[in-house]
């Protein structure tokens, strides 16, 4: 079990009386791609946000790269970590959002190098060099000095991926990265994600792109109402689902 990247155990999360995650347990090996599917409001985004402690959880444990996220365990007691320690943990987890969330007052290159320079303390010249390489990797070498508003949605999302990669994360989280995009722009973003997966990046992807899941995922998890209903190989879950809830969901999206 040395190469376990994510180990979520019985994760619970509620907003007030609304129990959103109802005991989610799953593991992701290093280099694996996990796709999470499920109906709207089932808790997919919430689960991702718990993984990098953007949300604190009400029960269970999350280990990323053998580190307990957000807490320090002493005996049987969990002590919440200081904000700077949580920030440190987040550095090794990249996140890509449905609505890109690029920093609009910075150019594409500035977006990419802001955290390496300001957070990781990398030399600005070096960061710039790496930033340009990353932009080239996502096919945007000539867009470095464009502001986000001057880029298409697909280009913005690729900058966002480059920005997350710039912190050299061990794990990448994608929350419906293509669902805000025009259909003809989806392919470029998925291509970048595929090549990332091929290069061995550990990824958790919430998506409605069944084609992508089928082609890239090592494992697919179907979540409904905060519980894992079914999980397994993509072929198994997508083509031969066992549970009626999975079947009816797949019927609707396919």
């Amino acid at each position: 079990m040395a190469n376990l990247m994510v180990d979520a155990r019985n994760v619970r999360k509620s907003y007030g009386s609304n129990q959103v995650l109802n005991g989610i347990s799953l593991t992701v090996q290093q280099g694996e791609v996990l796709c999470i599917i499920g109906p709207s409001g089932s808790g997919k985004s919430t689960f991702l946000r718990c993984l990098n402690h953007l949300e604190s959880i009400n029960g269970g444990r999350i280990y990323v790269n053998d580190e307990l996220m957000g807490y320090r365990q002493v005996g049987n007691v969990l002590h919440e970590l200081k904000p700077q320690d949580i920030a440190k943990q987040r550095q090794s987890i990249g996140m890509v959002f449905q609505r890109f969330n690029l920093f609009p007052h910075m150019t594409a290159l500035q977006n990419v190098i802001e955290a390496p320079i300001g957070v990781a303390g990398i030399d600005p010249e070096e960061a710039k060099k790496q930033g340009l390489e990353l932009l080239a990797q996502v096919g945007l070498q000539d867009k470095g000095d464009h502001y986000p508003a001057q880029l298409s949605g697909g280009q913005q999302q690729r900058v966002a991926i480059a920005r997350a990669l710039a912190m050299k994360p061990k794990l990448m989280l994608f929350d419906e990265p293509t669902s805000a995009l025009d259909p003809e722009l989806v392919g470029d973003v998925l291509d970048v994600m595929k090549s990332l997966a091929k290069a061995g990046m550990t990824m958790i992807v919430v998506t409605h792109e069944m084609g992508f899941a089928r082609e890239v995922a090592d494992k697919v998890v179907f979540i409904d109402k905060g519980v894992i209903v079914e999980q397994g190989k993509p072929k198994q879950v997508l083509d031969n689902p066992q549970e009626t809830r999975t079947k009816s969901f797949l019927n609707k999206v396919l």
Partner: protein
Amino acid sequence: MDLSDDVVAVPLRHPWRWISGGIATALLLSFIWAVFSATSIQHDIVTKFLFDPRILIGMGVTVVVTVVCMFIATVLATLLAVMKLSDNPLQRWLATGFIEFFRGTPLLLQIVFWGYLGIIFPHLVLGVPYTDIVFLSGKTSDLIPAIVAGIIALSLNEAAYSAEIVRAGILAVDGGQVEAAKSLGMSSSYTMRRIVLPQAMRVIIPPMGNEFIGMLKNTSLLQVIAVAELYTASSTISAANLAQIELLMVSGFWYLIMTTVLGVPQRALERRYGRGFEVVGGRSAPRAFKVGKR
């Protein structure tokens, strides 16, 4: 039909703009005429005192006090806004109390209070309580001259108003920005400084320009505690020569010049913090719609 490239686009005409503009100009000209032709106003006195050294020095004091006060107020306001948005209830409570107190009492009253601090506390001692350690001690009126009292009064009052402007600016920034910053491992103070505040500036600057102009004019209230700013200078002169209206015109003229000049740095700041935002629908957009010969 020949669909040539040489299409001439005729812009929409706006006749009412011209008509209303004409009426406004006519009214303005007749007002200026009325002022200049009034025999009760001695124009030679106006021109004589326009560049009087006392007036010019007063103007300098007004500018310095305005800039210093706005600087202090902006720093304090940012602090107050962040405190008011903090998770810590004590900080929220302190900031709210400060804002309510300074917004809830008249500015003139606050100025007089700080000006007369020397009567309430004739001696000021700065040191460690219940020990003999004293850093500073003396007569209050020496330690806090009128101009300092005026600056304190105006800055604190302005901070209370500006805090709400800064807070509104911070709230206008999309929550996704903070999430993205956090996910990159940025601390909350770093996020505030590098991600949130620069974007909030776009919303903050126009109303702060207003506040700046308001401050410039409010410095005239410092006349009541005898700070030698522009209005004090002009009223001191008119108390001697009894040409009240003429000297009001002198100081009014300079106030108008100063508030007009203030628009220049404001526009520069707006451009600076509008970077990355003006692309859609801004100056660069209409280019795509240009029709005609290339």
